[in-house]
């Protein structure tokens, strides 16, 4: 029996159908969760999909954060439930304080839709353990106007100390991008951070779109590893077969500098 994974739909979400498709392709049973429901309907994991929830008016993700469903998501996350935010979903998680940091307007002040490469900094998380070929950069699209990851130096040092950086923008060869390398780190994210994970290791967010790169026909299936990791971890969680996390973490260096 396929594991049930929730996909939250806010007014203005526009990657919900893509995410449902990618989850189903990965063998899960997607469950659509309307923003006004206060219950998660017993799903084993939740995805906050991309889009422009509430038009992204004011600040991306800020209005969505107050939807009834987010109270349920917060409670779910607090008891260790798996939550993944993609693009706008990441922005919502950040606004809700479920993952550290803030996402500012791209430094170039333009929306950017293009392919990027990201390195997986940790393979020992529920969102990354099924990614094949450790350290090989993953290629997938970004499409956002507010994706510049920001935290002050102290916050970033703390984040790195917690091993909270999950993905970093790198060049095609896998070398970590600098903050002003517009080619590899298009939105100017601090320390090239493309995705983060909370200290408890059960809530993660990233700006790139794995669900748009999960089938060869779309030019890359590098995103499938992330989706598969989530579905597999959700299945373990549902079956109660303990740790969704494989041990032997990959040293941070392995992924980045190559």
């Amino acid at each position: 029996m396929p594991v049930r994974v929730g996909v939250v739909v806010f007014p203005g979400s526009n990657c919900d159908r893509d995410t449902v498709h990618a989850l189903a392709t990965a063998g899960a049973e997607p469950v659509v969760l309307w923003h006004e429901t206060a219950s998660l309907d017993g799903v084993a994991a939740v995805v906050l999909p991309g889009g422009f929830a509430f038009g992204d008016y004011l600040r991306a993700g800020v209005i969505a954060r107050f939807s009834p469903v987010m109270r349920a998501v917060t409670a779910f996350a607090t008891d260790g439930g798996l939550v993944l935010g993609i693009c706008n979903g990441f922005q919502v998680l950040a606004e809700a304080g479920l993952v550290p940091g803030a996402l500012l307007r791209n430094r170039g002040l333009r929306f950017l839709g293009r392919g990027v490469h990201i390195a997986t900094e940790r393979l020992d998380t529920p969102f990354t353990h099924a990614i094949a070929a450790a350290g090989r950069p993953l290629r997938m699209p970004i499409a956002h106007g507010e994706g510049c990851y920001f935290g002050d130096d102290a916050a970033l040092d703390a984040l790195e100390a917690d091993r909270g950086v999950l993905f970093r923008y790198v060049d095609a060869a896998g070398a970590r991008a600098s903050e002003d390398d517009r080619a590899a780190n298009p939105n100017g994210s601090r320390r090239a951070i493309a995705g983060v994970i909370n200290a408890a290791g059960n809530v993660a967010g990233l700006m790139p779109h794995p669900e748009r790169a999960a089938e060869g026909i779309l030019g890359s299936d590098d995103g499938a590893g992330i989706i598969r990791s989530l579905v597999d971890s959700a299945a373990r969680a549902a079956a109660g077969t303990g740790p969704t996390v494989v041990s032997s973490p990959v040293p941070v260096a392995a992924a980045g500098a190559r």
């Binding site: 509430f54 038009g55 008016y57 004011l58 107050f66 009834p68």
Partner: protein
């Protein structure tokens, strides 16, 4: 020469649709906030001008606002002179 700090408040003209204002109003229910209406969302630009005197400085801001900061077709603007400190108010200090 003296230095003057101004703020230019740019707001959607009356009658012009303000999608952001509408979205904020619509979301108040979720925050359990009542009695709020006529929400308009605009921009606030704070800047420092070096000029001979206040009047000269204001003239510069006036031009900047009209030519660059506001779109006269859909936005109105107002210029206020502010204390250098006002942009550094932290949360809570507001009230």
């Amino acid at each position: 020469m003296s230095s003057h700090r101004f703020a230019v408040n740019v707001t959607p003209k009356p009658g012009i649709l303000d999608p952001q204002g509408r979205a904020v109003e619509g979301s108040l229910g979720h925050l359990g906030i009542e009695g709020v209406s006529a929400v308009r969302v605009g921009r606030r630009v704070e800047l420092t001008v070096e000029a001979l005197d206040e009047a000269a400085a204001r003239a510069v801001v006036e031009r900047l606002a009209a030519d660059l900061l506001a779109n006269p077709l859909i936005e109105a603007y107002a210029i206020e002179s502010i204390a250098g400190a006002s942009s550094t108010v932290g949360p809570g200090d507001g009230a």
